[in-house]
């Protein structure tokens, strides 16, 4: 079309004899075309990115103090996109120099992302790498205050840096809010979030969540009976209590001494703790919900033991700290991958790299007679194991069946079953009574990183490298639900106390909460800066704690999906987290050989007071740091009586 017009113009000029005009036109045309070609993209594009980013950076660093931190937030996504644009256009060398030059600025905040992105060396890698794909396909949302935004727009117009303008237009969504810039520390929703996932999170987190406890649970029934008896006859109740206590004391004597000691301790405080608890429970009773799964009924004698434990529970708070019993694994030769402790602390299991699972019965270890005369006790086992004589020498029961490193073990609520998950893609169910394998569950396609029994037993959840979490019932070899949605490995899984939800932590730095009935994602928690390694949900079902590779512990409000308080809790990986039974304390165990106790109630109170405004999140208060002797803490578990059990392998290196 244009050419035709041009031709027509030339014809017209010739016909009329406007020679000079014709020459001028021709000259102008050639100049234009040569201009276009001289802007050889390969050279100037790279330079444009480099210069443009350099200028933007120095401008941002020289901007007004109060707006600087907001403007600096813009730099990181621009940096990443400049780099990826350069790669996409094939300027490998330039991309590399660009990356190396400006990398330092972002290392503090985004080191792990940078390490991953550094590997991108060809356009095809951009397609292949999930992180790069995420960046390129989604927009970053940045919150800026009105004035910061104006400053930025002014700058971009004034400098005419088209490359930067292009990147910013293409990949960044600004969310401009009126008023003063937010404070520096309020960084939780800053930059590293990807636009759509943020929207997704918002959308998901608007769903209704029934975080309350189960109806008709043993605890509830106990509280009911308590309050009833309180109403009817106060004196009689007291008498019954003392009788109870006396009876228990005699019971306690039957147990091994170690257990006995602690029970006595528990008991002393138990009596006082109980009354306080019944009072406090009056104040804020978590809502009750119906179970979505058909749950098994506890046999009456089991229920009895739970009730007794509940009666003897020690009241823990910031002033009354728990006793911690530590199980140290010796001579593991770097082979212990995971461990778990049964509810009463009597059984300890470890999963090893050599595919074996070992269970120690702590009550029997105390008895010297057992080692010499085990035949009577293990008589039934001899038939099953050809190595029965060998078995007798061992202080533990050895479970062999997996064909790859065992990555997690989990006891059923009453320690009669044990689950183990392994890199051979299977989960195995073992009976602790028979010391034998019962079922092997196949379904995952990659190593199963974590497996957890539900609080009521019967069901269990698994997390795998195949980016899914699955829900199983012990009596079916196929999974009941597959929870897909994580963008990378699912590293840990945890049950909600009401059994209606499971929480998963992933290498994509997010935590998700799934509805077990529908298999849909019910909450998405964004905020961690590295792989999520451990999860714990408070007993009232309202809060969740998650720990990551960097030692950060975050506390989340399940109902809103918001972070309550991020803390740098440890200097290394947080392997395990546990809430005390009444939810007042959080214990965290880490690779830095520490057990730390955090006060939850204080941050809860702060949360309640400024629930309406999303002010700066209150921080968890560290109550106590308990260093171990070069023993990383793998597992923490509060017993029903609020005794804290911890386990870890003594590391030979030190």
């Amino acid at each position: 079309m244009e050419e035709e017009v041009e031709k027509a113009v030339f014809v017209y000029l010739r016909k009329k004899g406007f020679r000079l005009t014709e020459i001028a036109l021709q000259e102008e045309q050639t100049r234009l075309s040569s201009d276009a070609s001289s802007l050889s993209r390969s050279e100037s594009d790279a330079a444009k990115y480099y210069d443009g980013y350099g200028k933007l950076r120095s401008w941002a660093y020289n901007s007004l103090d109060s707006y600087r931190h907001e403007l600096l937030r813009v730099l990181y996504p621009v940096f990443i996109h400049c780099f990826m644009d350069l790669v996409a256009q094939g300027h490998m060398q330039e991309a590399r120099t660009f990356f190396q030059t400006f990398r330092e600025d972002h290392e503090m905040m985004h080191l792990r992302d940078l390490q991953k992105l550094e590997g991108i060396l060809s356009p095809s890698h951009l397609e292949e790498m999930e992180l790069a794909r995420l960046w390129r396909q989604n927009k970053v949302k940045i919150r800026l205050c009105q004035y910061s935004y104006e400053l930025l727009v002014q700058y971009l117009h004034k400098t005419q840096s088209l490359a930067m303008l292009g990147v910013i237009n293409e990949h960044i969504n600004f969310e401009v809010y009126p008023g003063q810039p937010a404070s520096m520390s309020d960084d939780s929703e800053a930059v590293s979030l990807i636009g759509t996932s943020q929207d997704l999170a918002r959308e998901i987190n608007q769903k209704e969540l029934h975080w309350g406890l189960l109806e008709d649970s043993v605890e509830e029934r106990m509280e009911k009976t308590l309050s009833e008896s309180d109403k009817t006859e106060v004196d009689g109740n007291k008498e019954a209590d003392t009788e109870d206590n006396n009876k228990k004391k005699t019971d306690g004597n039957k147990h091994s001494t170690a257990v006995n000691n602690k029970k006595k301790k528990d008991k002393v405080v138990g009596a006082t703790g109980k009354t306080i608890r019944s009072e406090s429970s009056m104040v804020s009773v978590p809502p009750r919900v119906k179970p979505e799964l058909t749950l098994p009924q506890f046999p009456p004698e089991v229920e009895q033991s739970i009730l007794e434990d509940l009666r003897n529970r020690v009241q823990l708070n910031s002033l009354a700290l728990p006793s911690v019993s530590f199980y140290t694994f010796l001579n593991t030769h770097n082979g212990l991958n995971c461990s778990t402790i049964s509810h009463d602390g009597s059984l300890v299991a470890g999963g090893f790299s050599d595919s074996s699972v070992k269970i120690w019965d702590m009550a029997k270890i105390g008895q010297p007679g057992r080692a010499s005369n085990p035949q009577g006790e293990n008589g039934s086992m001899q038939g099953m194991h050809s190595l029965a004589s060998d078995e007798a020498k061992r202080p533990y029961s050895l479970l062999q069946g997996h064909s790859g490193p065992v990555y997690s073990v989990s006891f059923s609520p009453f320690a009669d079953f044990l689950l183990s998950s392994s890199s051979d893609n299977t989960i195995r169910l073992w009976s602790t009574r028979l010391n034998a394998n019962l079922v092997s569950y196949k379904g995952h396609n990659f190593p199963v990183w974590d497996a957890q029994f539900s609080p009521m037993g019967h069901y269990f959840a698994t997390a795998s490298h195949d980016r899914t979490a699955r829900l199983w019932s012990v009596e079916r070899i196929q999974p009941l639900r597959v929870m897909a949605g994580h963008l990378s490995d699912v590293d840990c899984v945890q049950w909600h106390p009401n059994c209606n939800y499971i929480a998963t932590g992933s290498s994509d730095k997010t935590v998700r909460l799934w509805d077990v009935q529908t298999g849909n994602c019910a909450r998405l928690f964004i905020g961690h800066r590295s792989m999520v390694l451990s999860l714990a949900i408070s007993p009232d079902g309202r809060f969740m704690a998650s720990g990551d590779e960097d030692g950060t512990i975050m506390l989340w409000d399940l109902s809103t999906g918001r972070s309550v308080s991020p803390i740098i809790g440890h200097s290394s990986c947080v392997w395990t987290l546990a809430f005390s039974c009444e939810g007042t304390l959080l214990a965290s165990g880490s690779a830095d050989c520490m057990v730390k106790l955090w006060d939850i109630t204080s941050s809860m109170k702060a949360l309640k007071t400024d629930d309406s405004k999303s002010g700066p999140a209150s921080r968890l208060r560290l109550l106590k740091a308990l260093p171990t002797k070069s023993t990383p803490v793998y597992t923490l578990r509060f017993s029903r009586r609020n005794l804290l059990f911890a386990a870890g392998a003594l590391s030979a290196g030190s």
Binding site: M92, Q93, R96, K116, E118, G119, I120, L121, S122, H125, A258, L321, P322, S323, V324, S325, F326, Y327, T328, F329, L330, N331, H333, N334, G335, L336, N337, C338, V348, G350, F352, S353, K358, W360, M362, I365, R394, P395, Y396, Y407, F446, P447, W449, H465, D489, D491, S507, M531, L533, E549, S572, C573, A591, V595, L623, L626, P627, T628, K629, A647
Partner: protein, 551 residues
């Protein structure tokens, strides 16, 4: 552009049998190799995390390769992290130190020990939030904030039922160790430097010295027993004790039982320093003050502290076989504990003791001058003890003592200075005229000591020339705390010691005292029972005083 150079690709190509790889291919492969390496590393790190480790091992890489359906690398089987060595001359080239082992060596070598089987042991990491100090737990930090000191002790108490017998490893920080060494060096070598004074000040003020207290108490006990004849060191040690005691941040009570013996040694040892040349009396006085302050401060905590101490001292005092120096120390110690102790323990025994002491002091009966000197010392301290006791009693009647405190000294001084040539009558009449001051002087130990010589001033003494000298040393050492007026008095005494009537003086002084007593009695301030006790005591007390004047 890739961190994997294309030469590497070429070398690898050659190693797998592709002799001439085109440079373009190498160039294209290099970045991909780097990417794959990073990918494998990323997966390996995931595996590492799931085996709950923080150090990457060959196993993790194998697992990562397994995840990607790749063949694992062979030859690196080890559950421990690999140990890389840096190639000499290269900044970032590392290699595995893979020693070649002779087959024969391996075969001939004895079988290695079978590795120990995995086991689980249990211990208390914390009991109600407090870590018990057992070997399974890491040692409690050496530096503890002073207020925590007590708390920590309570924590240990809590843990007592669990494991008491196991030794507690005590780690001392480097700084504290240096501090301790420095102090020790100062005590033993340079106790007279201003630096030592600063050190004492630091010992008395600094917080955070608590971990050193056991070391100091041991050091002091050790050095005292070793340096009994080195007075400067003993003095330095005692000053350290005093500083430690005065430090408000130190919880010293548990270590008192270690320190007390050394202090008591300094107080009642038979020989402290060189008997002749050193002023060992001073250290005994100093030690007695320390002992008294300890009793005052911790007496209520350890109720048997004072009783045990007085028992020790009274034993030393009443044992005639003990040396006079020991008696002196015991008397000093007892009198430092307060007038009531003196009244209860010394005064009842005073008369008998004086009978023992008397011959020692007589020139004709005790030929050894040193012994005599010692006896006089003991006598002086007894006088002091009795006097202070008396003073304490009299203090109960403020009406008698409240009148001018400074005036008497002044007048006294005037007397001493102006009435030097005057005869004794005048002096004594002057004194009787000023009744209350006289009483004070007569009763106050420092007063008595200085008063007698000064009133003696005009009196002539027939004794040898050595005695005045002795008087002088006696006074100046005993009256460390007295004013310059005393010293001038003493000087005056030396100057005028000759040519005064001893006999008359004796009468005069006893008159003065007796009158004072009578006044008290007349006034009805002193209880009759007290008089019974003191009546005799004071006579024996006065008599030697006169004898003391006499010589």
């Amino acid at each position: 552009m890739s961190i994997v150079p294309k030469e590497t690709i070429e070398v690898i190509a050659q190693s797998i049998g592709i002799p001439n790889l085109s440079p373009d291919v190498a160039l294209a492969l290099a970045p991909d190799v780097e990417y794959r390496l990073r990918e494998i590393t990323q997966e390996a790190i995931k595996c590492m995390r799931h085996t709950k480790r923080t150090v990457l091992t060959a196993d993790d890489v194998d697992s990562a390769l397994n995840l990607r359906n790749l063949e694992p690398i062979y030859g690196f089987a080890s559950s421990d992290p690999l140990k890389f060595k840096r190639a000499i001359g290269h900044k970032d080239l590392f290699y595995l130190d893979d020693r070649e082992v002779d087959f024969k060596e391996v075969i001939d070598a004895p079988l290695p020990k079978a590795p120990l089987d995995t086991a689980v042991v249990t211990h208390w990491l914390a009991i109600e939030g407090v870590q018990p100090a057992i070997p399974e737990n890491p040692p409690i930090e050496a530096i503890v904030a002073p207020p925590d000191g007590k708390k920590m002790d309570h924590g240990k108490d809590d843990s007592l039922p669990i494991d008491l017998k196991l030794p507690i490893k005590h780690v001392l920080s480097r700084e504290l160790q240096m501090y301790f060494d420095k102090i020790g060096e100062l005590i033993l070598g340079r106790a007279d430097t201003p630096l030592f004074k600063d050190a004492l000040l630091s010992l008395a003020k600094d917080s955070g010295l608590h971990p050193l207290v056991p070391y100091f108490s041991y050091f002091i006990a050790d050095e005292v027993s070793r340096n009994l004849n080195n007075l400067p060191i003993l003095f330095a040690l005692m000053r350290v004790v005093k500083s430690l005691l005065s430090n408000p941040h130190i919880h010293i009570e548990p270590y008192l039982h270690q320190m007390m013996p050394s202090i008591i040694t300094c107080l009642v040892a038979k020989r402290v320093g060189h008997q002749i040349s050193d002023n060992h009396w001073a250290i005994r006085d100093f030690a007695s003050k320390i002992v008294a302050s300890i009793c005052r401060r911790y007496g209520h905590v350890y109720h048997n502290l004072q009783s045990r101490l007085t028992k020790t001292l009274i034993h030393a005092f009443l044992d005639p076989s003990k040396a006079l120096t020991q008696h002196y120390g015991a008397i000093q110690g007892l009198s430092a504990l307060g007038p009531s102790v003196v009244r209860l323990l010394i005064l009842p025994n005073l008369e008998t003791y004086m009978q023992l002491l008397d011959p020692e002091m007589q020139l004709d009966k005790q030929k050894n001058e040193l012994k005599r000197k010692e006896a006089w010392r003991v006598y002086g301290s007894l006088l002091l003890a009795g006097g202070s006791c008396l003073y304490d009693r009299l203090r109960l009647f403020p009406g008698l003592l409240s009148p001018p405190d400074i005036l008497p000294w002044k007048t006294n001084k005037k007397i001493a200075l102006t009435n030097l040539p005057n005869n004794k009558r005048k002096a004594s009449s002057r004194l009787t005229a000023h009744q209350p001051p006289t009483k004070k002087l007569a009763v106050d130990p420092t007063g008595t000591n200085s008063q007698f010589p000064s009133t003696d001033g005009p009196a002539t003494s027939s004794s040898s020339g050595s005695n005045p000298n002795h008087h002088h040393s006696h006074n100046s050492s005993n009256n460390n705390s007295s004013s310059t007026g005393n010293i001038t008095n003493a000087n005056a005494n030396i100057n005028n010691v000759s040519g005064s009537g001893a006999h008359g003086q004796r009468v005069a002084v006893s008159n003065v005292l007796r009158q004072a007593w009578k006044e008290d009695l007349d006034a009805g301030h002193l209880l009759s029972s007290l008089h019974g006790l003191f009546g005799e005591g004071i006579f024996s007390f006065i008599q030697p005083a006169e004898m003391h004047c006499f010589i």
